[in-house]
């Protein structure tokens, strides 16, 4: 059991009638969440514990997990769940544990990316559709 969020634009189909472009936009937003999640792990500060054997520096609590073997970062996927919704997440268990702080101090990586996407979605939609949609 991993961690997943849903990028859901249900209801937007009433104002955006260009079906093909709409699908493309929802998919693009899901990809943005995925890309931001990956980027956040790649750029997470090396401020945690040091593995004495490998020398790997872990993330500190509150920051996204730092990449060691790449299991989590390479497992992040997107999948279509309906015409207006795509899921982003991972089936990897420690993805869930780091996101919610189960058994360790939390190192959220997925929901911060989702929140960042939410803050950008209006600008992205206006740029993408370029059709005078007023939100």
């Amino acid at each position: 059991m991993g961690a997943r969020v849903t990028v859901d634009f249900s209801g937007a189909d009433r104002i955006i009638t260009q079906t093909a472009k709409r699908d493309q936009f929802v998919r693009m937003m899901a990809q943005m969440v995925k890309a931001e999640s990956v980027l956040s792990m790649q750029r997470s500060p090396a401020t945690g514990n040091v593995n004495p054997v490998t020398g790997h520096v872990a993330s500190s609590p509150g920051n996204p997990p730092r990449i060691e073997h790449g299991t989590l970062v390479n497992s992040i996927d997107t999948r279509k769940v309906s015409d207006m919704a795509h899921e982003v997440g991972t089936p990897v268990l420690h993805g869930r544990k780091t996101e919610f702080g189960i058994g360790i101090l939390p190192r959220p990586w997925l929901r911060p990316a989702m929140l960042l996407m939410q803050s950008k979605v209006k600008d992205e939609a206006q740029r993408f559709f370029d059709s005078g949609i007023v939100f």
Binding site: S40, F100, G101, R111
Partner: protein, 150 residues
């Protein structure tokens, strides 16, 4: 001068303190080793201007979890989650109840807590000691809109 996150943490601590089943065991970010379960831990997930993904707005996503173990671990964790929800959900200053009253989690002199919205449920269990004695984590994610007072 307090920042938004500091104001928010103080407000949540004050609102949750001294309630059943956790009593005074309410901790921001992490609990000390002497803390006794059931306890509540709340932490920033996203928002504000700290860490790599930062926002200019004073909008925060916070996880609030009741953590319990032992014979009544599940019951305490689930009851704690319900109590957390009761105390925080739609209880910001601009949240209005059915009788027209404002919410009671209003922030401090510097920052106003405008709205508190309950998001996804968190319910997990973990075998910390790997001996089949589970620790239950139950609570919610909340999105909180704040504003600096003029």
């Amino acid at each position: 001068m307090a920042d938004a996150l500091d104001s928010l943490y103080r407000a949540i601590k004050a609102q949750l303190d001294d309630n059943i089943p956790w009593g005074h065991e309410v901790y921001p970010d992490a609990a000390p080793s002497w803390a006794v379960r059931p306890l509540v831990i709340f932490n920033r997930v996203a928002g504000g201007d700290t860490n790599r993904i930062a926002y200019e707005s004073d909008r925060f996503m916070i996880d609030v979890k009741c953590i319990a173990d032992g014979e009544n671990g599940y019951i305490n964790a689930v009851a704690g989650a319900a109590m957390i929800s009761e105390l925080l959900k739609d209880n910001g200053y601009q949240d209005i109840d059915d009788d027209g009253n404002n919410g009671t989690v209003a922030g401090d002199d510097v920052y106003l807590i405008k709205t508190i919205t309950r998001e996804a449920r968190i319910h997990e269990l973990d075998d910390l000691e790997k001996v089949g004695e589970y620790v239950f984590y139950s609570g919610h994610t909340f999105t909180i809109e704040m504003e600096e007072r003029l």
